[in-house]
């Protein structure tokens, strides 16, 4: 088994056993949606545009939680130091943490997407299928940024505030593109209209996964 697979399966196994992170993320996603529904009038909180916006807000907040927890899982008993001493590449560690965060986020957002369709009075027919690849792209981009930056914010006292302040502005392009593409997916619009937005998402992902892969070694380790 490769190191990447070993670390990823270890994280998945730990999560299955405690489930704390995923439950928290699902709960947070749901809370965000509930708050939005009550904050906006029912006349406003309906339709694909509002739904897409709400879902991506949930993505950002749940993602923040997921990313910091993925790294925090290594702080118990200082396992992170064991990983750093081991022969594992820093970049491989980044990839594994990114993958783990992304998977947890997707689970949470899967639940969130179903709730969104319900709360915002949409049609289920094929909407979720069209939505899935867009959410996957968004989650990968977010996890790429958040995994890299959480290593930095985790070092600061009060770093829970710092992570969103760093991630959210950087995530703006994906947010803009993702919401528009999701709107198209949730309405019956042909996906060709969302082609440009999906292109931006793909470029975003490629750019920041690569950047994180190359830069992670500089933010982890070195006491």
């Amino acid at each position: 088994m490769s190191a990447f697979a070993a670390i990823l399966s270890k994280d998945l196994r730990l999560e299955l056993r405690s489930g704390v992170s995923t439950i928290a993320m699902v709960a947070l996603a749901m809370l965000v949606l509930v708050v939005l529904v009550f904050a906006l009038n029912p006349g406003v909180a309906r339709g694909p545009e509002a739904a897409a916006g709400a879902l991506w807000i949930a993505l950002v907040f749940a993602g923040m939680l997921g990313a910091s927890r993925a790294l925090m899982a290594e702080s118990e008993n200082e396992c992170i130091r064991a990983l750093l001493i081991s022969p594992v590449d820093r970049a491989t560690l980044y990839a594994a943490k990114l993958a783990a965060s992304a998977i947890f986020m997707l689970v949470a957002l899967g639940a969130g997407a179903i709730l969104t369709v319900l709360f915002f009075n949409l049609e289920f027919s094929g909407a979720l299928v069209r939505l899935a690849p867009i959410l996957i792209l968004g989650v990968i981009g977010f996890a790429a940024l958040a995994t890299l930056l959480a290593a930095i914010s985790g070092r600061a006292r009060g770093g829970e505030l710092l992570l969103p302040l760093l991630v959210v502005p950087m995530f703006v392009p994906a947010l803009i593109a993702g919401v528009r593409a999701s709107t198209a997916a949730l309405s019956a619009a042909p996906m060709a209209t969302a082609r440009d937005w999906i292109g931006i998402l793909v470029a975003f992902d490629v750019l920041f996964v690569t950047a994180g892969y190359l830069l992670f070694e500089h933010v982890i380790g070195q006491e």
Partner: protein, 236 residues
């Protein structure tokens, strides 16, 4: 004499404005064991962290397997085993799963077999399926030792290896250290007070004002464990 496994040259480390190590010089050859003695905050753990490649020195350098400790390649890192203050174990994984995980990272063939064999060696064969969060401190320490040695390291870094061990645990740890040394491993350990390990010749160093002073005269044992006070025999 063959090239030493560990070599430091005027190693210095400051955390911000607080100096901890000044000019630490150390040489440990294959099959030899060095013990660094000092009180809390003296710099033992700092020194060990530098040797493990976790921390970069502020001045001077450390060579491990002839490589700069700051830039150990994966092959070099594969040959280091470390036992730290914290156990490096995942509480929600079983003992066997922990060992298998690390065995896989260290590219050991048949990680499962290695895990079970090491569980036996440290007397935890019956606890392989238990989650580590259920373990007592002594059991954790034994498992952590197994974790450190499972990859057959060439350098063993042991931060207070006998802490929290009962007499059985001490016997097991002593046996493990002896075996590793016989294999040609170099051992760098830290301790609060002068240490004697049965059947093992130790090079003792005291950390004093950031320097390593070999063969100290007498060092107070602030809190000697029952067994350790019995081990006041001279080195063989």
């Amino acid at each position: 004499m063959a090239a030493p496994i560990v070599e430091t040259h005027a190693l210095g480390k400051s955390f911000g404005l607080v100096p901890v190590l000044l000019e630490a010089n150390l040489r440990v050859a294959s099959g030899r064991a060095a013990v660094i003695i000092g009180g809390n905050g003296a710099g033992k753990s700092t020194l060990l962290a530098i040797l493990a490649g976790l921390s970069a020195p502020s001045t001077g350098y450390a060579l491990v397997f002839g490589q700069d400790s700051r830039r150990l390649d994966p092959d070099g890192r594969r040959r280091i085993g470390m036992l730290s203050h914290r156990s490096f174990l995942y509480p929600n994984l079983t003992a066997a799963e922990n060992l298998e995980f690390y065995a896989t990272l260290y590219r050991i063939e048949n990680p499962r077999g290695a895990a079970h064999s090491w569980l036996r060696r440290v007397g935890l064969a019956n606890f392989g399926g238990e989650r580590v969060r259920m373990f007592s401190r002594g059991m954790e320490q034994r498992l952590a030792a197994a974790r450190a040695m499972i990859a057959e390291p060439t350098l063993l870094i042991l931060d207070e290896p006998f802490a929290a061990l009962d007499s059985d645990g001490v016997a097991i740890m002593t046996d493990l250290i002896r075996t590793e040394l016989a294999r040609g491993c170099a051992v760098v350990a830290s301790a609060h007070a002068r240490l004697a390990i049965e059947g093992v010749e130790l090079e003792q160093y005291e950390i004093s004002r950031g320097r390593l002073i070999p063969h100290p005269e007498t060092v107070e044992a602030p809190r000697a464990g029952r067994l350790r006070s019995l081990l006041g025999r001279p080195n063989q």
